[in-house]
Subunit: 239 residues, 2 copies
DNA sequence: CCTGCAATTTGCGCCAACGCAAACATGCAG
DNA sequence: CTGCATGTTTGCGTTGGCGCAAATTGCAGG
């Protein structure tokens, strides 16, 4: 629904490159430099890109596929921070000069990425301020997203939170189908629960109730929004 | 406990300036440029710097005092995002090219700030990449903070969340006193509740219980941690 | 010193959602 | 085709902490 990054191109062309959230607006010669110093990486669904606590070695830009960023506490409880799609950055720690990755990033679909080491990224940002400015913009957007989620989690009931999250996911990576808007990557009840701060049981019950009312259709790791407007009503109605 | 920004200096000297999270590492001539284009601002406790939804006009750096950043939903429910102290940035939207402020910022103590318009900030970041890099770093740190709070809010009980938050606040702006570490700005039960996602009633009950055990001492809008180690135990103990 | 507002404390009833448990689907491996 | 692992549904008892209400305390302004 957002950018289109041309399927499975393994060697992305400059044009595609220039539409990336980190590199948009970068002059063409800089893009060529960048491409020269980039490392390509393929991941199969389920593969781990890096783990929480790992030393920060690189920043990655997603060319195709989708990944999940998650945070874990010592006791094993984990939450999902966000899903990362084409054009977006994975491994922001290297952008901000952090020395370890604050979360784990896992591929949820087969994915293609390109990466740069922290040192190179730093040089690039010093030479081409637009890249540093883009980095600030992208981190600012994510910070803002988190503020909103924190507010939702603090003040809203579970049903409404699930509604908001599905709408957000549909917006980020929904795919129009005959039955409605489908979340375009495998999303289990547990995943959804770990995004909105509840249990898979509660998510399951909620989705069942919605399915009864024809608002959604779901299968194993699949959710299709049949009546998005009804979801909006649930998520935003006064009361 | 963190930086010291020399009390009430209204015209901060370059040295102080250079210890700011946004400008550290900036060359001296740039700092002089910056100072020339800055606008000074004083706020009394309770004054509003800007409100959620306002058009983004400026970024501010706190020289002295303390402010509170909050987020409000349509229904009036609000949460506190964070407290902003000396050396920190208020109004990050202008750093990331946003066109409206995503939250409201209010002074909780008499405060001194210096500010730059979005346009000037943009120019500065283009001319001195270190400033853009610092902006990315600072937004990254806040993003990371939010991830941790989101995880706590998702997975931990209220008592533990209150414990973590008090420890965090003490770390950011604690002041050693005879009785223990005092949170160095007015913090009501309601404020604490809006930071950890609960009600002022629950906060009050929790603090009362802790006061009984000698872990904290509190008054009206005051909290002193008498036994920080006991709080750490509550916040981090297994189980 | 008095008055009034705002912050705090505390009691009590209730319910949304959790936790556990058990049955049931679905898709992949062999 | 069959079995297994993983995901999903659903029932049921429990409870943390919310919501309401009322009493109390502390601070500021007159």
């Amino acid at each position: 629904m957002q950018h289109e990054f041309g399927g499975m191109d393994y060697y992305p062309d400059l044009d595609l490159f220039a539409r990336t959230e980190l590199f948009q607006g970068t002059p063409a010669d800089a893009l060529r430099d960048l491409q020269a110093s980039a490392a390509r990486k393929r991941l199969a669904a389920g593969d781990i890109l890096f783990q929480q606590g790992d030393g920060t070695t690189s920043v990655f830009v997603v060319i195709a596929g989708r990944l999940r960023a998650s945070q874990m506490a010592q006791d094993g409880q984990q939450i999902i921070i966000r899903y990362i799609g084409p054009g977006e950055v994975a491994g922001y720690a290297a952008l901000m000069g952090g020395d370890t990755h604050p979360g784990t990033v896992t591929a949820v679909d087969d994915s293609h990425l390109i990466g740069w080491t922290s040192a190179i990224v730093r040089q690039i940002m010093e030479r081409y301020p637009i890249v540093a400015i883009n980095a600030a913009a992208l981190l600012g957007r994510r910070y803002h997203e988190m503020q909103i989620r924190l507010r939702e989690l603090s003040t809203e009931r579970v049903e409404r939170r699930i509604g908001h999250m599905l709408l957000r996911l549909a917006h980020q990576s929904g795919r129009r189908t005959a039955r409605g808007i489908e979340i375009a990557f495998p999303l289990s009840r547990r995943d959804l629960a770990e995004m909105v701060g509840t249990t898979l049981h509660t998510v399951s019950r909620t989705l069942s109730a919605w399915e009864e009312r024809g608002i959604v259709t779901c299968g194993r790791c699949r959710v299709v929004l049949c009546k998005p407007h009804a979801l909006v009503a649930i998520a935003d109605e006064e009361d």
